[in-house]
């Protein structure tokens, strides 16, 4: 007799339950997708050349001062060595019975005076050296590009973005819907500079499968900054750095 039972031995029912279980797992794993918040951007290196020039001048003048101190110290040390040699000679003569006691006292006195002077000069030298180190650190900080950008204003709509911290690495946000930007950049303790930049845009999916806008082929149209340049003229935004001095 032919078996007409759909659920013979419960096999079909078990398959149905298994299938529903797999479906329920898939349904439960459906995720909410966060909105994509992103701007294309390009790195900008700000060099405060005006301040760096002043600091370098200060460092140079301190270097000259240190050279003078080094020369004086060297001269004093030579004189001290001479006096020590003279004192040794006098001590030997005294031992041989010569009456050179007053000469010996004078040499000791001169040596004492010279040593005190040498100590004072070395103290001044170390102070100048410390000051020079501070200025050199300041120069290094400026050379690293550390500045505090207060704000960047999109001059097309006058909407600003404000920043609170100093940094050596600045990313200039770019417009996803245009091939150029016109921004005013205000740097703390300095004035506001304008920068007009053009670039190419491409749409691409990133490693998280989110679609983003990538930029490349940057060109500085105009700027108030001094000595602006691009490190990579036909590269993408990751490999391009804009150098500007002010």
């Amino acid at each position: 007799m032919t078996n007409t039972n759909f659920f013979k031995n419960g096999r079909a029912l078990r398959i149905l339950v298994l299938y529903i279980g797999v479906f329920a797992s898939i349904w439960a794993c459906e995720e909410e997708v966060d909105p994509t918040v992103s701007d294309p951007s390009v790195g900008v290196f700000f060099l405060n050349q005006t301040r760096l020039t002043k600091v370098d001048f200060k460092v140079d003048s301190l270097d000259e001062e240190l050279e003078v101190y080094d020369s004086i110290i060297s001269s004093l040390e030579t004189s001290a060595d001479d006096l020590v040699d003279r004192l040794i000679d006098l001590t030997d003569s005294l031992a041989d019975g010569f009456d050179l006691e007053q000469d010996s006292i004078d040499v000791v006195h001169d040596l004492d005076t010279l040593n005190r002077f040498l100590t004072d000069v070395e103290m001044e030298d170390s102070v100048v050296n410390a000051i020079r180190s501070l200025w050199a650190d300041t120069a290094a900080t400026i050379n690293s590009g550390a500045v505090k950008v207060e704000s960047i204003v999109n001059t097309k709509n006058m909407i600003p973005i404000f920043y609170e911290d100093s940094s050596t690495s600045w990313k200039l946000p770019l417009d996803m819907q245009a091939d150029d930007i016109d921004v005013d950049i205000t740097i703390e303790g300095s004035k506001t500079f304008n920068l007009k930049l053009s670039y190419s845009r491409t749409t691409t999916a990133n490693e998280k499968n989110k679609v983003v806008i990538k930029t490349s082929n940057f060109e500085i149209i105009s700027t108030d900054f001094n000595n602006s340049s691009l490190s990579c003229e036909n590269c993408d935004d990751i490999n391009t750095m804009i150098y500007v001095e002010f």
Partner: protein, 224 residues
């Protein structure tokens, strides 16, 4: 390539299981001559109906087959689907929609009175469109957010499938079974800058071969 290996291993395993059952039985010799057109059948992929409960897809697929001499099979399948895959371009609300068909030839092995095994090769074609709206919020806030719709119409894709099917008779001409497929991409209309993510009937485009499992119910009218 890993998909292909996976498919082969699974195919070998299932074939082994099937032929293992076959070896335990001895076919009864039939004295009735087998008609040339032996069976006509229609089927529906009931597994796809469960997808109606998901937000990410809506699929329907049915098919028909004609068996010649109870051995050789002509296969035709048609389906249409709307896909919003979760893994697609996440900020685009991506959707791919269209219909597809498959046609091909198969060989039937009825190793028990209630169990059939098929091996077949199919050509498949899909006509579809995909669309979405690119949505990116400006992180700095000094520029406008980007909201950009896109639509690509009249797209097509062709691929090939090798299929192993196994089915069991439930009641009279009613069968339930599964297709184990390996889809191998032929060509499709690639798009720039965002390529087609998924194709109705095929799946994700970045896989050149895709294994798939389909569940079906079939009703067959046999002439013997």
């Amino acid at each position: 390539m890993s998909n292909f290996k996976c498919f082969l291993v699974l195919l070998a395993f299932i074939s082994f299981q099937a032929f293992g059952q076959d070896s335990l039985r001895v076919d009864e010799e039939s004295s009735v001559p087998m008609p040339f057109l032996s069976t006509v059948a229609i089927s529906v992929d009931y597994g796809k109906l469960f997808g109606q409960l998901l937000d990410s897809e809506s699929k329907f697929e049915f098919g028909g087959q004609v068996e010649l001499k109870d051995r050789f099979v002509l296969i035709g399948e048609y389906g249409f689907s709307t896909l919003n895959p979760n893994g697609a371009y996440q900020n685009t609300d991506y959707q791919s929609e269209g219909n597809y068909f498959r046609v091909g030839l198969g060989y039937k092995i009825d190793f028990t009175p209630k169990n059939n095994l098929y091996f077949s090769a199919l050509y498949a074609n899909s006509s579809f469109e995909d669309k979405g709206t690119l949505d990116i919020t400006s992180a700095s806030g000094i520029y406008s957010d980007l909201t950009e719709p896109f639509v690509r119409k009249d797209l097509s894709a062709q691929w090939f499938e090798v299929v192993m099917s196994s089915e069991a008779k439930l009641w009279k001409g009613l069968y339930a079974g599964f297709h184990l497929r390996l889809r191998i991409m032929g060509k499709y209309d690639e798009q720039e800058p965002l390529d087609v993510y998924t194709i109705p009937g095929y799946g994700r485009t970045f896989d050149q071969s895709i294994p798939a499992l389909n569940l079906y119910i079939k009703y067959a009218l046999a002439r013997f």
